[in-house]
């Protein structure tokens, strides 16, 4: 695909997804204006139907929702660039959460070093969780997809067990941590939203992702492995090692997502009844974002917006499933991007031909 196609195709997919959501909403007898106004309000805190001052708390919450799925998007994207499908983000997020919980409550440290140790614990746990499918793929030729999915369930129960072992565990959660990513400053500039320092973690991860993949020789060999595993092997690259490393880095990104949720959004460890879907959101984000860092960043914001708007929609009697349907349609259309571009060219071609009749200057793109 050409460069501009890589930008136009996802944009069209997003527009088409929103269009279908709108049409469905009209059929269900609700005015789409409420949907759009809720979406806009949930992102920037401005209600176009009831003009008033902008409430930045909405913006803060929107970022809180977007941050972890940008990280899981990076996680899926990183594996994908190496030709691997890491569907185990869910489990990696959860063990990352649990590890940072344990680190926060048990490590005899304090202040920023403690915080960094907690983040690293989360990343490390995610990496180990992703190492298992990676090494099994390489040594035993067991498909990463299968192992990773199963580890999602193991991850859920294992992380719950870890949280239950914490000394201050009671009523499905632990006490507040002595350290957290919570930021009175960020909260104060966003009208007391839950926005926290995890944003820095996300930005750093985006930069690391870009530099690692595009600028380093390690990234070069990962990309070669992703495009043509046999070709990379023939060129003398350590393909098996690349597969394991790529899974671990991918897992570390997902683990970080878990860590910032626990350390930033909540500030205490939680026992969960079910996974919260961050890992699967990451697949959509990576796909729509074209597996590059800027794309993943923007796609993460998009899906974050659709996620954060759901409760507000519900409040206005708009089924929150509309947001899910829009997300699903966008994913569907992104998967069909070649076909979409084909249609675009046919339409553009038809317009061009009309021009030709008039101008007679021939030649077409």
């Amino acid at each position: 695909m050409k460069k501009y196609e890589k930008i136009i195709a996802p944009l069209l997919a997003i527009l088409l997804g929103i269009l279908i959501g709108t049409i469905l909403l009209v059929f269900s007898g609700k005015s789409p204006i409420y949907m759009f106004s809720t979406l806009i309000k949930s992102v920037i805190g401005y209600d176009i139907l009831k003009p008033g001052p902008i409430n930045l708390r909405y913006f803060g919450e929107f970022l809180v929702f977007s941050m972890p799925i940008i990280l899981t998007g990076l996680s899926v994207g990183f594996a994908y660039r190496t030709g691997l499908f890491n569907i185990g983000g869910e489990g990696q997020v959860l063990v990352g959460s649990a590890a940072s919980t344990a680190a926060a409550l048990l490590l005899p440290m304090s202040g920023v070093p403690h915080l960094i140790a907690c983040l690293l614990a989360g990343a490390l746990a995610g990496a180990i969780w992703a190492f298992i499918p990676g090494i099994l793929q390489v040594k035993k030729n067991i498909n990463v997809v299968v192992t990773a999915i199963m580890l999602n369930y193991v991850g859920l129960h294992f992380s719950n067990w870890v949280v239950q072992q914490m000394p201050t565990f009671a009523k499905a959660k632990t006490d507040y941590f002595p350290v957290s990513l919570k930021s009175p400053f960020l909260a104060s500039i966003t009208n007391n939203s839950r926005l926290h320092w995890g944003i820095i973690v996300v930005l750093v991860a985006l930069v690391i992702y870009h530099v690692l993949i595009e600028k380093t020789s390690f990234g070069y060999s990962l990309r070669a492995t992703g495009f043509n595993r046999e070709g990379a092997r023939y060129a003398g690259m350590k393909v098996d090692r690349n597969v394991v490393y790529a899974m671990m880095i991918s897992g570390a990104m997902a683990g970080l997502a878990g860590a910032i949720i626990t350390l930033g959004t909540f500030g205490y460890g939680r026992q969960l009844g079910a996974s919260e879907g961050y890992g699967f959101d990451g697949i959509a984000v990576a796909l729509v974002g074209g597996c590059n860092s800027i794309g993943i960043f923007l796609a993460g914001l998009l899906f974050g917006a659709l996620k954060v708007a759901q409760p507000a929609m519900q409040a206005l009697q708009i089924p929150k499933d509309i947001a899910t349907i829009i997300s699903a349609c966008i994913i569907l259309f992104v998967s069909m991007q070649y076909g979409i571009m084909d249609v675009v060219y046919k339409v553009v071609g038809r317009f061009k031909k009309k021009d030709e009749v008039v101008t007679k200057d021939g030649g077409e793109a």
């Binding site: 600028k215 070669a224 030649g363």
Partner: protein
């Protein structure tokens, strides 16, 4: 005169390039017409126009005398035009019948009716002497058979103008002979065939007429029976062509590669290479001849490190490399021009410059402290492009997939030769390439020899072996049947050895 296809004064412009310039192609009904031209001569563009994938900028197309507008491939299908692609479009885990009906599945009351389809396919297969079993799985039949399935696909859709795009590129010599007789059968039964190729021998063997294109321009149409291969080659390339490579007597030096009592298992777990021993010296080209599937692939994979060696040793410049990793072998001085350039030779989705850096991507000058030095990578690519005349749309930044096969191969050769390896392992270097590219590549291989490098050439084309080699080794059933001096041998002797008759190693 009855023409099945007439493409008159076709011109096709792409931004910046005129791909076809006033080209005329007239194919007589019930004949085999060859379309000859080098890679990039405009053959594919012309065929894409005929197939409705592109619209011509100027010119008109007539099918059986009637002017037509072919706006998309469906129109072409309705007009009875069918294409047998070079790379087959088959579903491996489906049967022959399922593949053939794909897209127009017959049904009875809404239930898939494969039985009647299988019957029709059987009839067609018998009528044209194709000998295809409608119930076999694609994954279980040979490449030659798969091609026949592609042909049947067209016949099943009632095509009577068949376009064959480089049909012999993937076939063994025996399969080529069979394909030629199938094509003749098809014409006898009333079909018209348009054959796209650059293999002169095959044109000579099968075609009635031949239209030649060069750099987008129409050069002429000739009666094949009256023309020689040399004449056709000259029309195609635009200058005199040397089929034989000018080279001086070899001056062999020390042994560079020494293979001793090598045993290698094939992918079925049986011994593909058995007790194989061979030496290659500096300054000589040793050709390894043999019929496809006699252990060449296993031997090459064992030498390059792509597969494990069961027993025996391989030494390179006196170092035992038997258990070395691929990377270490490359560093030790092994250059490899692989058989499958798409699978092993290149990362097709990389740019040309990235492919040039593939062996040294992590060392200076291409990388420093783990970071790529893109300026150096580009500089290196531009130097190689210039030096080896690799042609591509956007220079060093071209995605390799979009380049022609000949230029992809040139890129691999440029990369491998530039590393100046002590041993150059060359496998099927000219498969699917045109005369001009073959001439160039042969010249480069001989140059390496003259620079006192050792060259092991593995090829299925006996002509290539005879042209280039100083000594010829023959492999049969995984075993060495003999090594002979090029000067003292001929096609007959090698043919016998390739069929397994042993000769004392001299």
């Amino acid at each position: 005169m009855n023409y099945a296809i007439e493409m008159l004064n076709i011109t096709k412009d792409f931004p910046g390039i005129r791909a076809n310039d006033n080209v005329t192609l007239q194919v007589k009904d019930r004949s085999i017409h060859a379309l000859l031209g080098e890679n990039g001569a405009g053959k594919s563009t012309l065929m894409s126009i005929l197939f409705g994938l592109y619209q011509p900028t100027e010119g008109c197309i007539k099918i059986r005398g009637k002017e037509v507008k072919i706006t998309d491939p469906n129109v072409a299908n309705e007009l009875g035009i069918g294409m047998v692609h070079q790379h087959f479009k088959l579903v491996e885990c489906f049967t022959v019948t399922e593949n053939i009906v794909l897209g127009m599945e017959p049904h009875k009351n809404g239930v898939l009716d494969l039985k009647s389809a299988a019957k029709k396919i059987k009839e067609l297969s018998e009528m044209y002497g194709l000998n295809v079993d409608p119930d076999s799985l694609i994954s279980e039949i040979s490449v030659g058979m798969q091609q026949r399935v592609e042909i049947l696909k067209m016949l099943y859709r009632n095509a009577d103008i068949l376009i064959f795009d480089e049909p012999t590129a993937v076939l063994t010599p025996q399969e080529i002979t069979e394909l030629i007789s199938i094509m003749k059968n098809l014409v006898n039964e009333g079909k018209t065939i348009l054959l796209i190729t650059h293999k002169l021998k095959e044109i000579k063997a099968v075609a009635d007429e031949c239209t030649v294109l060069r750099r987008g321009k129409y050069i002429g149409t000739i009666n094949v029976a009256e023309a020689t291969e040399k004449q056709m080659a000259e029309m195609m390339v635009g200058r005199e062509v040397n089929f034989s490579v000018a080279k001086e007597e070899a001056k062999p030096g020390d042994v560079v590669l020494s293979i001793s009592h090598l045993n290698v298992k094939n992918n079925k777990g049986l011994l593909g290479v058995k007790d194989f021993s061979l030496d290659v010296r500096a300054g000589e080209i040793v050709g390894l001849a043999g019929i496809d599937g006699n252990g060449q692939t296993e031997l090459v994979h064992a030498l390059t490190g792509l597969c494990k060696i069961e027993s025996g040793t391989v030494t390179l410049n006196g170092n035992d490399i038997t258990n070395y990793s691929i990377k270490k072998r490359i560093e030790e001085g092994l250059g490899h021009i692989p058989e499958d350039r798409h699978k092993h030779g290149l990362v097709l989705d990389f740019t040309l410059e990235e492919n040039f850096a593939i062996h040294a991507y992590n060392v200076e000058p291409f990388a420093k402290n783990g970071f790529l030095n893109k300026a150096e990578i580009t500089k290196n690519a531009e130097r190689l492009i210039e030096q080896f005349d690799v042609r591509s749309g956007q220079g060093a930044k071209t995605i390799t997939r979009s380049m022609s096969g000949g230029n992809q191969q040139k890129a691999i050769i440029a990369r491998e030769i530039d590393r100046s390896p002590e041993l150059l392992l060359v496998v099927q270097p000219t498969r699917g390439l045109d005369v001009g590219a073959i001439e160039y590549i042969h010249k480069r291989i001989v140059e390496e020899r003259d620079k006192n490098k050792a060259v092991l050439l593995v090829s299925l084309e006996l002509d290539e072996i005879l042209n280039l080699s100083d000594r010829v080794a023959v492999i049969f059933n995984g075993e060495l049947t003999g090594v002979v001096d090029r000067k003292n041998t001929d096609e007959n002797e090698l043919g016998l050895m390739m069929a397994g008759s042993k000769k004392e190693v001299n």
